[in-house]
């Protein structure tokens, strides 16, 4: 497998891996965003909480999520490694550099932007993923009348008023006309977290960082894997700007803002 | 007149058309095993040098290449713009080897050697094949086949080109072939090295002394043969289209060690260069001859219009057609704007001297693309099916065609002058460009020193008194790819028993010592004036007295002036820094010291040649219409000068025309 190690030790091979993981993370963002839109549903979080269960139990999604974690780690650390290596290619710095004359600042700041994003991911996963998996998220009980469609929800508490837990993520059964769903209430957690203005600020800054990172990163990934065509590259570049640079980060940013001002 | 016994050109017997084929098949060979132990030194990495080095290394010789630049790719062949001639007849316009041969001899004003020129025409086609195979991206037509354009002095389209960067593309082709051999270890490359002397042992050239320009150290290198591919000496004029570093030093050192120097006065003044703008100017920039395909040269018919233009009171675009003097079309209707360079340059000088010059200094004429831009625009409009296009549309479409053909040249013009040539006619004036003279070589390209060869512009052989456009690239590559690989066998086949001579041989030691002394002498002048001061002064003398027009009186004065300047140089030049470090001033000083000697010889040669021919125009010898007047009875010879220390001895090689009827050159 000499050829493999040669490939992945070459500058282009290493960049290929960064590009592929990066583009994979871009597709994840779209999935993540479309899932998160459940937050805006006026059902006290039922759809969102069910989505969360699906995402954490479906075997296919679970497998993909491990790939995702690995990609994040690889993308981040390979990126940092390459940035350090690239820096060493110019041991004596210029006294004056007019970078803005020839390139966009985002393209020159991928390391910094990426580091902000990495820190954000740690915070974000600590807040929600870790809490969901290992923390003490209370359960909620949704009752939906199957005839009228009317939906009510109550926190799942014991006789003593203390939160009750069940030993699985979700339970679903039918009681007469009613469908009962008991599920971990991550929605409430989200709602509560985003009352903290500092956290909201961190999220907003991080979304900006993601926007700037992807404004360069998305189209750059295609360039690295060799996709450059006079007809299609302009499309990729406008996707980079509008979809990944503006729409997706704005959409994500709208969530903390929504709950903060709710 | 008879040829000097010291100048045996070794031209093969037989009919002209068969000389080369037959010679090539009978020239002695060196077997592959012996090639491996034969070492060849190539000095210079331009078209001739790179092509020769790569080809010889491919054949199995051990090759060392030297260049003073930081990379072999920088050699000044890279700046050649317009194209390269080849008798391919791809345009079906009646071209042939004979026609290329004939045009070249005629273009050279009947002062070139028939056999050499015919060989050049014969191999011209192979060059194009070779370059295309190397990946040189010549311009192509939509059908995928190669495109051609016209150049001066011909009535066929035989010039292959790559936009205005043909020299660059050809050199990069040769350079890549050279780098391939370097990568394989067959060539050892010495960049940032300048050859400062040749080393002769028992009457044969056996190596060189070179200075490492980074450390200043002198080095000795042995070779069974040494090839000088070091280009021309136009920089003797200070202002020329040559690169700043182009110099005569290698050829001159060889000359001082026994190589005869031929026809030094044949200088090509290129008609289309950007005019001088001020005294700060360090070099002149060529606007390719290919521009004369589509540009029309003119000055105003009336002096008062010329004056108004000079003073900025009249926009040349506003001058009516009937008030313009397209003087080349007027004087030379058959060739029009495509007359050879010497003719076009003299005509421009004549108009400017008569008071019709169009820039502030009065030394410029117009090169106007407006008419052809519109013509192209209309053709494009037709192609695109635009009927009754507006003038603006036609102009835009025409501009696009011009951008594709000459874009880089127009950009360069704008950059240097600050004027947009798409909107205003270019201003041009003649400038020193190429030197037809050089080291004397025989048919094998060997100089009068056995084992020492000269290729490309460094030799004198193929262009007579005037070189046609797009022929320099052809000659450089012909010599390097297709001549020297064969002809060097004639010498090296007798050297297979010669073991590599150790460089502690006495001759090497002496040569190095002499070189070191020369450097010390320069460093120790410790005068007051920088090298450029002397170089500028020399250039002015040369341009005024030995430039586009010469006369006996001026030349005699120039000889004295140069001698005086040379004395002053050796008393008053100041070279800062140290000899054992990178020292560009020291490099320049060495080169100017040689120019100061060469300049004198050029004037002596010009004074000796009592006729006008090609690039050599003696005012005393002209027709009533102001055309060059040759004297074939007395001057149909190559003037070869042998260095005798403080003087020169003239040797003549008679030029015999057996296949061409020698005639008054006419482009009317």
């Amino acid at each position: 497998m000499n050829w493999l190690s040669k490939l992945f030790n070459s500058s282009i091979g290493q960049k290929l891996l960064v590009a592929l993981t990066g583009l994979f993370l871009c597709t994840f963002l779209i999935v993540h965003l479309s899932g998160n839109f459940q937050l805006f549903k006026n059902d006290n979080g039922m759809a969102f909480n069910l989505y969360t269960v699906f995402m954490t139990t479906n075997p296919f999604i679970k497998t993909v999520s491990y790939v995702l974690y690995a990609s994040i780690l690889f993308h981040a650390f390979k990126g940092i490694h390459l940035a350090i290596k690239n820096r060493s290619a110019r041991p004596v710095a210029y006294a004056t550099v007019d970078g803005k004359a020839n390139s966009h600042w985002t393209s020159r700041s991928m390391g910094v932007l990426g580091t902000i994003i990495l820190v954000f991911i740690v915070v974000h996963m600590g807040d929600f993923w870790y809490e969901y998996k290992f923390g003490h998220i209370p359960y909620i009980r949704y009752t939906q009348n199957m005839v009228t469609g009317e939906l009510t929800s109550t926190p799942l508490v014991g006789m003593d008023g203390q939160p009750l837990t069940i030993n699985k993520k979700m339970e679903e059964f039918v009681d007469g006309d009613n469908k009962i769903i008991i599920v971990k209430d991550l929605y409430a957690e989200v709602k509560e977290e985003f009352t903290n203005p500092l956290l909201v600020l961190i999220y907003l800054i991080s979304m900006a960082a993601i926007g700037f990172h992807l404004f360069h990163g998305f189209q750059s990934g295609f360039q690295t894997i060799g996709v450059n065509h006079p007809k299609y590259t302009p499309i990729l570049k406008s996707l980079s700007l509008w979809l990944f640079g503006i729409i997706i980060p704005l959409a994500f940013a709208s969530m903390p803002l929504y709950f903060y001002f709710l | 007149m008879s040829t000097s016994p010291k100048l045996d050109a070794k031209i093969p017997e037989g009919v002209l058309e068969n000389k080369w084929t037959k010679y090539r098949s009978t020239v002695p060979l060196v077997n592959p095993a012996n090639k491996r132990s034969l070492e060849i030194i190539v000095v210079g990495s331009g078209l001739a040098g790179s092509a020769a080095a790569a080809s010889l290394a491919e054949m199995g010789y051990k090759v060392k290449v030297f260049c003073f630049q930081d990379s072999p790719r920088r050699a000044h062949s890279i700046a050649a713009q317009g194209g390269i001639n080849a008798a391919k007849n791809y345009q079906n316009d009646g071209d042939s080897v004979y026609r290329l041969f004939y045009d070249t001899i005629k273009g050279g004003d009947y002062r070139a050697r028939e056999a050499n020129v015919h060989r050049l025409a014969e191999v011209s086609g192979n060059i194009i094949d070779q370059c295309v195979a190397q990946g040189v991206p010549f311009a192509r037509e939509y059908g995928g086949l190669l495109s051609n354009r016209s150049f001066g002095g011909t009535q066929v389209q035989r010039t292959f080109y790559a936009a205005g960067q043909t020299g660059q593309q050809l050199l990069l082709g040769a350079y890549s072939a050279l780098e391939r051999q370097i990568g394989m270890g067959a060539v050892q490359m010495y960049s940032r090295h300048e050859m400062l002397d040749i080393v002769n042992i028992d009457g044969k050239c056996r190596g060189i002394i070179a200075r490492d320009l980074v450390t200043g150290k002198l080095e000795r290198h042995f070779g069974h043969a040494v090839l000088l591919c070091t280009g021309g000496y136009g920089n003797v004029f200070y202002l020329s289209t040559n690169a700043m570093g182009s110099n005569v030093t290698a050829a001159w050192k060889a000359h001082k060690k026994g190589a005869f120097f031929s026809n030094p006065c044949y200088t090509q003044i290129h008609p289309t260069c950007i005019p001088v703008s001020g005294t700060h100017q360090s070099k002149l920039t060529l606007m390719s001859e290919s521009l004369r395909n589509d540009g029309r040269i003119w000055v105003p018919k009336r002096k008062e219009d010329a004056q108004a233009i000079r003073e900025g009171k009249l926009n040349p675009n506003d001058l009516k057609e009937e008030d313009r003097d397209y003087y080349l079309e007027r004087r030379y209707p058959a060739f029009g704007n495509l007359v050879p360079r010497d003719v076009a340059s003299r005509a421009a000088k004549e108009r400017c001297d008569a008071g019709f010059g169009v820039n502030k200094t009065g030394e410029a004429v117009f090169l106007d693309f407006a008419a052809n831009m519109m013509r192209y625009g209309r053709i494009e409009a037709n192609k695109k099916g635009i009927y009754n296009p507006t003038e603006d549309v036609v102009k835009q479409l025409g501009k696009e065609v011009v951008v594709e053909k000459y874009g880089n040249l127009f950009d360069m013009y704008k950059q240097i002058t600050g004027v947009d040539p798409y909107e205003n006619p270019m201003m041009i004036y003649p400038a020193v460009h190429y030197t037809m003279g050089g080291l004397w070589v025989d048919y094998n390209l060997m100089t009068t020193v056995p084992g020492l060869y000269a290729l490309g512009e460094a030799n004198f052989s193929d262009h007579g008194a005037n070189r046609l456009g797009a022929s320099a690239l052809m000659q450089g590559l012909a010599d390097g790819y297709f001549v020297i690989p064969y002809t060097i066998g004639a010498y090296l086949s007798n050297e297979i028993r010669t073991k590599a001579i150790p460089t502690d041989h006495e001759a090497f030691v002496t040569a190095e010592k002499e070189t070191a002394e020369q450097i010390n002498k320069l460093m120790n002048v410790k005068g007051t004036k920088p090298v450029d001061y002397f170089h500028r002064k020399l250039g002015l003398i040369m341009w005024n007295e030995c430039g586009m027009a010469r006369n006996a009186e001026g030349l005699k004065k120039a000889i004295q002036d140069i001698q005086a300047l040379r004395d002053e140089f050796w008393k008053d030049v100041r070279i800062p820094g140290e000899a054992n470090n990178m020292n560009p001033e020291l490099e320049k000083a060495g080169r100017v010291a040689d120019f100061l000697e060469l300049g004198e010889l050029m004037c002596i040669d010009a004074l000796n040649r009592n006729e006008s021919c090609g690039g050599h125009f003696r005012e005393e010898y002209q027709t009533e219409e102001g055309e060059a007047l040759r004297d074939d009875e007395n001057y149909a010879y190559v003037a070869s000068w042998e260095n005798k220390g403080n003087s020169w001895e003239l040797h003549k090689e008679e030029l015999k025309y057996e296949n061409i009827k020698i005639a008054q050159r006419s482009y009317k």
């Binding site: 070459s10 290619a89 690295t224 450059n228 | 791809y90 195979a133 991206p137 990568g183 001033e585």
Partner: protein, 251 residues
């Protein structure tokens, strides 16, 4: 020399490779706007020589923008403020009276400084020697028109081949990457049918040599393309990536 601009130059001076180096400031009076940037340096050097000081060493040769030898980093940009122009073609009309201009050598691990503004760019030659050629010995060629090449491909090959090897791409790149240079040659030969037989080994070997010389990797900032005096396109780097990955994975 009758100009009316007064220019202050802050120039990097370094006597030899092992020296630490420093900036020195020089005042140049009476600069004409028709002067080229290098002609201004000629004047500075003459001034220094007359003062008995060591002139500034800088690389230059053709002074018409094609040899690729000149190489100054001017006010934070390779070849100065203009687009599509080498230092030798830069004229003083691009500056204003009273300007202070900072001039540095190219900075890259693979381009060590030799003296003052002169750097060693032989790494480029070694990249070409690793595969930037078509292996055709002299005399092996068939007739030039026996192999038609689509005009579009020939044109693009030419645009890539227009590279002058000056190193501005490396100088401009924040990673000191030579990918634009390397890709220009790989592209030129990949676009032509003549280059096809060696395309795989060429891409592999040239990229390997690029890496071995200590150039950084490409992060697609586009600075190289923007600063390239010959307008070599970034699409060449994408093509090189394709060529390389294709060669590494499929050959």
């Amino acid at each position: 020399m009758s100009g009316n601009m007064n220019i202050t130059l802050k120039v990097w001076r370094q006597n030899k490779a092992s020296d630490k180096g420093r900036f020195e400031t020089y005042a140049i009076p009476n600069v004409s706007e028709d002067m080229s940037f290098l002609e201004m340096f000629d004047i500075l050097n003459e001034q220094l020589i007359i003062e008995g000081k060591d002139p500034v060493a800088f690389d230059h040769d053709c002074r018409e923008g094609i040899c690729g030898m000149c190489s100054m980093f001017i006010n934070g940009r390779p070849h100065g403020p203009l687009k599509g122009v080498t230092t030798c073609q830069l004229h003083m009309r691009s500056f204003k009276n009273g300007d202070t201009i900072v001039v540095e050598p190219w900075r890259a691990k693979a381009f060590p400084v030799i003296k003052d503004l002169v750097v060693d760019r032989s790494a480029f030659d070694r990249i070409i020697a690793a595969g930037g050629y078509i292996s055709v010995n002299t005399g092996n060629a068939q007739d030039a028109n026996s192999l038609p090449v689509a005009k579009e491909n020939a044109d693009h090959a030419f645009f890539a081949a227009a590279c002058i090897g000056c190193g501005a791409c490396v100088a401009a790149c924040k990673n000191a990457s030579a990918m634009l240079f390397t890709s220009a040659k790989i592209s030129q030969l990949a676009l032509l049918p003549q280059g096809a037989p060696e395309r795989n080994t060429r891409a592999l070997n040239m990229v390997a040599q690029h890496d071995a010389e200590g150039f950084g990797s490409c992060t697609n900032t586009g600075a190289c393309e923007a600063e390239c005096p010959k307008g070599i396109s970034l699409s060449n780097i994408a093509r090189m990536n394709r060529e390389y990955l294709g060669a590494a994975l499929m050959s």
